[in-house]
Each structure stands twice: as C-alpha cells, then as structure tokens.
Amino acid sequence: MDLAVNLPGLSLKNPIMPASGCFGFGREYSQFYDLNLLGAVIMKAATGNERYGNQTPRVAETASGMLNAIGLQNPGVENIIQTEVPFLADYDIPIIANVAGSTLKEYEEVARTFNQAEHIQALELNISCPNVKEGGIQFGTNPDMAAKVTEKVKRVSNLPVYVKLSPNVADIVSMAKAVEAAGADGLSMINTLSGMQIHLPSKRPLLANKTGGLSGPAIKPVAIRMIYEVKQHVSIPIIGMGGISSAEDVLEFLLAGASAVAIGTANFQNPFICPEIIENLPNVLQSNGFTSAQEAVGKGII
C-alpha cells in the first residue's frame, strides 16, 4: 500500500503527523517509539519571545473531548531553533514549524527567523489560537486580516505556508479563499472550537483563562464538514485534523478532502496512537478499495 503523499515542500512517507501543541517538540514521545515512523512532525507554536502562557488549570475534560487554554507557552522562536530543532533534525522526518504571534510584526519575525534556520520544511501559520488575549483569533475570523498576515509571512519566507484555520466562523470557505488568494500553499484545519466549562464546586469557569479550545472526537463532525466545504472551493491541499483517533477516522478525513492529517488530543490517551494508525491505515485503505492514500483524497465529495 502506497501511503506517500506529496504536498508543497513536504514529501511525506505517510500522511500522519502529530498536531501542533499536542506533541511538544517530540522529546517525550520519542521515549515511546521511533519518531522516524511519522510522516512529519508539527512543533508547538513559536512566538517571537518566550511566553509563559496562562494560569492553571489549563485543561478540562469534556464529553468525547477536552478544553485547553495553554496560552501559547513556548520558549520563543530562537530557543526553539537552538534547542529543539536539532533534536528533531536527527530524525529523517520533515519538521513543520507552527508560527504564532500577537501582531502582524511578530508573525513576520517568527516566520523570518524560521526561514533563516536550517531543517524547517514548512510553516503552519496559526491564526486561530483561541487562548490568547491579543492576536491569534482575530486574524482567524476576519478574511482580510487572515489574507494580510498570510501575505506578509509569504513575503519574508521561502518556506511553504500552511494557514491553520479557525472553526469559529460562520463562513469557512471565504476564510480559505482569502488565504489562498494571499498566497497560502496549503491549509491546516481545524483548530479548536471556543468553549467553556463551569466547575460546580467553585461556581466559576474551570479554566483560569475562562474559555478554552475544544478538541477531540467531539469536534470531528465539524472538521469533516469544513474540510468537505473548503475542498470544493480551493486548489491548495488541506492538512486535516480534529478528533482523529483511528485509521478509519483518517480515511474519513481523506474522503472529505484532506491530503494528510494531524493527530492531537488522541496522543494524550494513547501515546502510541500515531504509529498504531500508520500501521492500520494500509488495511483500512485496502478494505475500502483504495490502492494508495493519495487515491482517497476528496473521493467522498458528491
């Protein structure tokens, strides 16, 4: 079974990668298995300077999902390049850097810095983090802002740019079209849905940040719907994510129009989820009549 997928700047031996923020910079999960098994790895978001993120509690459990409000805690782009990238570069897998910021300028700077560094194959432009006070989400819900940040980042970087879309919008297609027109090489979708849990004993929002991003199987139907809709209106490829926890789920994403997928929350329940899915995917593809992963892409669209 041919699992290989070629995307702008990324030649993947299989379409499975861990999602940004759910895999740190790979060190922890490398204790469980050989990261070379992965199609690629998407690093935790990077900002211009080190960020300490939100107060705790930062996570809550929900029905078939979870909320998180980490708040983009990360050591900053320079530290990531110096300390984390070399660790990942020892593996033979493409590294995708997740770029975040509070201002257009910060996005530009982070992208420029990654562009100058070695070993980074692509940027994932995170315009959809619901968990920081400024930046993030406003770029992700306004097509003009989204286009602008995409354009700026494209200008300062030669790396292919995958824009990560927020599902917290009424019209995902116009967001996708706007960033495609602005030069995006691909899309990454979806980020988390904005949600909240109230803690009964304390009678207040459980997360210190009050709201958090909903991820996990609960949001899979929203992800599938958005990818299905967007696929019909853009010609750039989509990295799909949102609630994947089995090889069958991966096929559902491929059929909806994703060319590759990322796996987030499921890593927490089962640290081996990525290699297990990679192992099962050939069977699932075959028993559904496909001879390659590529062949299934968009085949569910009628």
Binding site: C22, G24, E28, Y29, T56, R58, V59, M66, N267, Q269
Partner: protein, 251 residues
Amino acid sequence: MMKKLEVEVLSSTDIALDTMEMELKSEYICKHAVPGQFLHIYVEGHTLRRPISIADVDKFNNTLTILFKKVGSGTEKLAAYQPGSRISVLGPSGNGFDYIGVESSTVLLVGGGIGVPPLYYLGKALAEKNVKVISVLGFQTGASVFYEEKFKQLGDTYIVTNDGSYGSRGFVTDVLWDIAEIDRYYSCGPLPMLKAVCTELPHKEGYISLEERMGCGVGACFACVIPTDDNGGYKKICKDGPVFAAHEVSL
C-alpha cells in the same frame, strides 16, 4: 523509564468514606517505581487519563497499591473495575521524593486527605533505611481516615480531622508545634495545606508533591506547569514533578 502497560486489577476494596484501595499486578512498575511517582490511568469512556500516586509496592510479589477517592466520574468508574480486569497505565511517571543522605535522621511526613497515599510508600522506604518517621495525617472527618495502623507501624502518627470527629481537631499545622525536632519534611495534600506547612517550617529542608490537571501526563502539552522561584521559569508537574523541593516552586 515510563512505559505504557496493561496491568491486572487484583483487588479493589472500600477502605474509608469514598476511598478505594486497589491492588495491581505489574513486574515492570514494581521494579522501577520510586516513592512519589504516579500512574497515568486510562478509564474507559474518558478523554484524559487520571494521575494516581503509587501508594505501595511489593517487589517480592510484583504487586502495587493505589489509593484513591471517588470524586468524579473517572474515579467512580475506576472504582467499579472488577478483579481480573485489565487497565491501561502509563508509568511509573514523574520524579519521586529525593531521600539521598537521609539515613539516621528524623523526618516528618505531612499528608492531607488523598495526598496521604504517596507518603506511605515513601515512609516504608525511609523506615527500611532506619530513618525515624513521624507522620501527621489530616482528614476531613473520622470516616475518611485510612492507613492509620500502617503509618503507626512506621513511627509516631498523629491523626487530625477538620471536624474533630477522630484524632485531634483542626488542621495538620495545628499539631506541628507538638512534634519533636526533625531534619526534613515531606508533604502531599491540598495546596492550602502545602502552603501552610511550608510557612510553618521555613528553615527545614522540605519536599512537596503537587497536583494539577493534566493533559498528556508526559511533559508534551504544557498543561500542568507551576512557576518556579527564578523569575518567569516554570516546571512541569507531570515530568519535572510531582515532587519538588519546597524552595524550588512558588505556590
């Protein structure tokens, strides 16, 4: 090193109000676990695993004990697992209590409620090293008290309950003045208790075990951080902890 394991439930017993003692079989964990480490337990139907301390290890029989309180849907469900069933755990996780050079000293264990479990395994390990162990265990009420006899076998043990229905009335800190000279303390329990203990014993070497809501439980997601004393730094409770030197973190 932490592994993902399927372990068998050997027994599950009610030992106090809403409190379960569960015996598990795992050669790997028994071989590698040190006091203060925890298991990250998968409970069917739940997105996130539950962190539960290792309360005792029997290296001879390769069995280990966890003690937990039924506080929500996950622990309720865990309590319903029958002997013979298998549960998935990650472990042993985190860093345990530091007790190098502790020989022939006097240590104080201060546990609050469901913070008591990791101290038992620690106390046993210390007692084996001929350390003099004094335990102060706080509970909400008499019905919640567990492991009193077991701690007594390790050394002097004071029980405190908030409502005075068993032992002395009040908080663990109310009996600390009563305690003879100690060289070092270890504490686990609710945050207000840990703060109070650290404040009461400012000049002693102390180690505390912290709790926080976890995502991954392995250090990858930044859910469980705690600020450290040096400005702006932070540690991950699941990976750098759950045990920290008292001066290391800002509560």
